[in-house]
Amino acid sequence: MTKDECKQVVLDIIADIAPDEDLSNVKPDVRLRDQMQLDSMDFLDIVMELRKRHSIEVPEADYIQLASLDSCAEYLTPKFNALAG
């Protein structure tokens, strides 16, 4: 999985948990919370959906890695690739 593909995976999840948001122009280097209405429960949703859909576990200490699309890709891509391997 490439980092761009990983970002799309995260965006697909966000599209479901924040269905009122326009995701056509999300800036990858800006914190997700700074560009859309996401609260702490929504981030738990992202964690849950990664677990449900992709068997990816994100420990609580690593939640900060999900701040932006770029940081998501940086953190999650190796996890996806490890699973695929």
Partner: protein
Amino acid sequence: MNHSQESRIVITGVGLTAPNGNSLPEFRQNLLTGVSGIVRKEIRYMGSQLAGVCNFDTLRYQKKKELRVGTRAGSISIYCAREALLDSQVNFEALPKERIGIYIGCTEHGNVETENEVYNISKFNYDTKFWSHYHNPRTVANNPAGETSLNLGITGPAYTIGAACAAGNMGLIHATQMLRLGEVDLAICGGVSESVHTFGIFAGFKSQNALATHEDPAKASRPFDRARNGIVISEGGGLYTLERLEDAQTRGAKIYAEIAGYHVNSDASDYVLPNPQRQAECVRASLKRARLEARDIHIVNTHATATPLGDIQECEAIRAVFGVDCPETFINNTKSFIGHAMGAAGALELAGNLPAFVDRIVHPSINVDDLDPLCALPGLVLNKPREVARVDTILNNSFGMLGINSTLIVKRFVP
């Protein structure tokens, strides 16, 4: 501020969603033209069942995300509360939000959400790490009222009243009490139900041999008919704005009706079987509080759910109170159209009758092809609406499991 036990409390707004209507005019029209709201619905583990399902516009007052996070009962409450506020024409923006109370009757809450989560983790080998973090806010008993307070920014007391199927009346009764105590200046009150989304309610009634069956969904809910065979479960909501009369008059509000009297009591006799003696006591006590005689009541809206025994027992109670010398008392039933909307039942059933103060028409109890002689009450309005000489009072019965009884009387507003 002038308020006391003698304060006159009036209904100034109505918001509702029923299986056959999403506004009072639509609901009333369908009650007068015999339009049922019962359909077939797929119920988890049980297949196709008869149910009363609402089709209000869920996105009128909520965002998609609110719908995803919240509950169906919350959504119904928000829709009904906002419709009631609009109908009341109160200047909501100008009201102190801490002086508004939300009192919502519920038969149950949390079954739907808990069943959904158990079903969800069943797909993951019952591993509870897949259990939603929304489970607790969705299932707390105050959920429907809490979601309504969030949606409207109301900071006064907002809670639910658990009173089985007597709950719809209880919302109005409690609001009346709180207005008289001066706790709030405006109450949003009534009852809601999301029960068609829980298989447990269906399965429970089926195990009790109390779930209706019929080839034709529209004919399935048939209180008082000899062939009745049980309850049709429904969802819905009926919320009202209640105010002290002086407040309503000060702002020139339209007044639907005045709260005339009420009573709540308990059978203390059985988990599920009703007790006609206690029901009759409840009705008599409500009449006493309203300073009315039985013959002064023009419409009695029955609770009857179409169970073989329950209908007979309520009729016994009504006969004991209204059986003699009540020539202007007419009796009907709303569940025959919409099924049993559980916590919303009392509130919806009152709403369906309120327009009778204007048109003097008593909506009927439909689906009575062969009247059970044990339910043959004088004044029963069957199958066709009946125009009557006058409608100045409506008495609404709602009873529930564990033996809770509620009776509410409203009267035509006379300044």
